[in-house]
Symmetry: C2
């Protein structure tokens, strides 16, 4: 951990910014904690009032640090837009900083050590749903901008924060919003901090993300749960049928058995595989970290390649019949699976969803009916050219902020909106994840390390001068 | 529907009994309704107080009609024993009448038209959990006995009602209780009304039941739900693994693929298959009744054979990962299936449970761990010799009560305790189901037809003289 500010030539005006960040550390944590108390779960209707409260909270915060802030209403959740004050001067660069104030659901609730919306600090980490994904990460950037504005240090770029409330459910409103307001959001690049780096001593720019797409399948058998004694044996069991269908989604080598699934997948180059081979995880360490007896993935690829650069098809949830205590001797009326695919260049999300559905329909026996729930969301994979000058600038800022050499990594997660920044705004995105692999995002006991939060604000301080150089 | 009492020679003293039954019909329905209001779900701990309240209710009722009644405490749910008053005379037959006051869980609650514990009468049926399985059926027998006692008509046999509160969870306490009190319950036979007949115009004695046994399997993968973007592809998915394991439980012909599963299964004789071919259901009618597009069962057997006389392995419930609204992109930490087998002579329940577990262990990959939850319950199948004199007496009583010819049928359900009556008490059991196939037992909207309840009491009136003949 760095304990002194290492500034290079031309960074002398950052001394005040970094001093301000240091001085206000405790307050920044209090503000994060307050922000985390709002249960802004976008997937669950019951949390709609919390979503609105959360948008209002972050908008108020943006205003308080000196940003011109507006809450845009949408047919879904509001979008908060906050701009730095105008600065005279021609040819100034304009960057968008993207974040999302919505969070994942909290279940299984019983596995949380402390309540997901009662932020608790233990061992230098703040535990709460949304701490790392994504409230802590965009708040760190806001802390840096606050430091510039409150110390009277001139920001070398104009910044627009775009904070949405539907990232965890597909960003449909933001997509519409940006497509309708292309001109307003014309920019030279986008900064997204919504991921992680290998460790605080190994800061990294993420140059690749997987895409994703969701398919929810329901197998319907009898019109009601049947007594398995009276009818079992003569009626097909929808749970069994669904299992057989899911079993037919992969082959023995861990490859996805959906016809056409791999068509258009760009093969990994030798250079890429060399870069991925620098993975800090050994297979054994990764297995231990996630708690499995043995890793398993697609044959012919390393675990790092499997989890960052190869497409997947996962079951996220299974539901059928009786799930309570004890037993209930029924043939269930239906069975459901929530499926998602992670995608790589150049797989198209809608096409993949169509292929998966067609395959499931094809293998579904005539003894049941198969249905798909409407409205899957998703987006394609994203790769930033490694030669992009802004990428090099970001690497310099990372090294200065974290006082360690920075690398380029490829991540397995998805931020579908990134492709939209490219297509609608023509802008490349710099993925600067401020989190850590141990943050338990999407899992019980999500946490953000306080050091990571602090260093994230430091990155925010160093980033804009490097990008403007 | 008969609208006059048809009594034969020697049945003249039944006129008063039948008149009493007719006169008190409305009150009998009110009493059933009161009994059904108690949510005596044995599978769920939260209902323990209701179980005790239910035992107290039925004990009080037994006392009120003149039976010497005692509630026996057990380490689980109480057993209610109620005896008819002693009658002088040598060589009187003694019959046990078995019933259970516990009921199945109610979920999926949303599918009930009226609340499961607010009995509602619609279209000549009383809707409530437990109406047909089993409160209405044993209460009908008690109504008949009440009619004998209150009209001063001499019962031709001594009767002992044994009403337990753990039938839906395996009857473990009753088993211990009967084994410990063999002498007290020595009897000439047992009457169990806990099933159905094809229709009120086709009354039937059930001469065969399937056995059953339960296995609950949990597949454990990562120590927590993982972000499917960060880790998906390199880690096996427990939900997918469980599906593959379940898919390997049956072959393409609908036969159970567990090695050794069919060893010892007594083949169906030609006579038996002829009898089963008299099934009132055509395959098309059965498919329509249960609401499936097409039936499916073990190759080489008719639907009637499949659902009554062949063993099965059913998934009763599936649970894994995220099941709420929207999506959650995780690799779930674990996946669970509740499985039960229906058994036929001479399959042994413990042996079958062992075979299923061994098979699941064998096919479980080394990338996950497989576990089984303790304490499966079950019992072997049961067949009463068709030549048994008491069976012929029961058929005569059925014809008199329902005014239609009675037949012998084989049922697919299980009443494990029946085998115990044979082994512990040396007694055969007469299975006289008073319900109908449309009763939705174990399903939402369970109901008992009021005509079936009324005629059940009439059967109770005719049965004892026929058995004593």
């Amino acid at each position: 951990m760095p304990n002194k500010t290492r500034t290079g030539k031309g960074d002398s005006n950052l001394a005040a910014v970094n001093a301000y960040l240091k001085k206000n550390e405790a307050r920044f944590v209090r503000e994060l904690s307050e922000y985390l108390e709002i249960p802004s779960v976008s997937a669950q209707r019951e949390h709609r009032p919390d979503i609105r409260r959360c948008a209002a909270w972050i908008a108020k915060h943006c205003r308080s640090i000196g940003l011109a802030t507006k809450i845009y209403e949408t047919p879904g959740n509001p979008i908060v837009v906050a701009r730095t004050p105008p600065v005279k001067g021609k040819g100034r660069l304009h960057y968008l900083v993207y974040g999302h104030y919505d969070v994942q659901p909290t279940d299984p609730l019983g596995l949380w050590v402390s309540a997901p919306f009662k932020p608790a600090i233990r061992g230098g980490r703040i535990y709460a749903r949304g701490s790392s994904d994504n409230k802590g990460q965009h708040l760190a950037h806001l802390n840096a901008v606050e430091a510039y504005l409150k110390t009277g240090t001139e920001l070398p770029c104009d910044l627009t924060f775009v904070l949405e409330g539907e990232e965890e459910v597909g960003s449909a409103r933001l997509t519409e919003f940006l497509l309708k307001n292309r001109k307003k959001f014309r920019c030279d690049g986008v900064v997204v901090s919504d991921g992680s780096m290998p460790s605080l001593a190994k800061p990294a720019l993420t140059y690749g993300l997987r895409g994703n797409v969701a398919v929810e399948v329901i197998v319907r058998g009898p019109s009601r749960d049947l007594h398995s004694g009276s009818f079992g044996g003569a009626v097909d069991n929808p749970a069994t049928v669904l299992c057989r269908m899911i079993a037919a989604l992969h082959d023995r080598d861990g490859r996805i058995a959906v016809p056409g699934f791999y068509r258009g997948v760009v093969p990994l180059s030798k250079a890429e595989r060399r870069r991925l081979a620098q993975d800090p995880w050994t297979p054994k360490a990764l297995a231990k970290f996630v708690g499995v007896p043995q890793l398993k993935g697609e044959k012919g690829y390393t675990p790092e390649e499997q989890r960052t650069s190869r497409p997947t098809l996962e079951v996220n949830g299974l539901t059928s019949g009786y799930q309570g205590e004890g037993g209930k001797t029924i043939v269930p009326a239906w069975a459901r699976a929530k499926l998602t695919c992670r995608l790589v260049p150049d797989q198209d999300p809608s096409r993949i969803a169509g292929l998966v559905k067609a395959h499931l329909k094809r293998i579904c026996p005539p003894t049941v009916r198969v249905e798909f729930s409407k409205g899957h969301h998703g987006g394609p994979a994203y790769l930033i050219p490694v030669t992009e000058p802004s990428a090099k600038a970001a690497l310099r800022a990372l090294e200065k902020a974290y006082c360690h050499p920075a690398s380029m990594v490829r991540e397995g997660g998805s931020i579908p909106i990134v492709s939209l920044f490219k297509s609608a705004l023509g802008a490349e995105t710099l993925l600067l994840g401020l989190g850590l692999p141990s943050d338990n995002t999407h899992s019980p006991n999500e946490a953000m390390s306080l050091a990571g939060y602090r260093l994230g604000a430091r990155l925010g301080a160093f980033l804009w001068p490097e990008l403007a150089r």
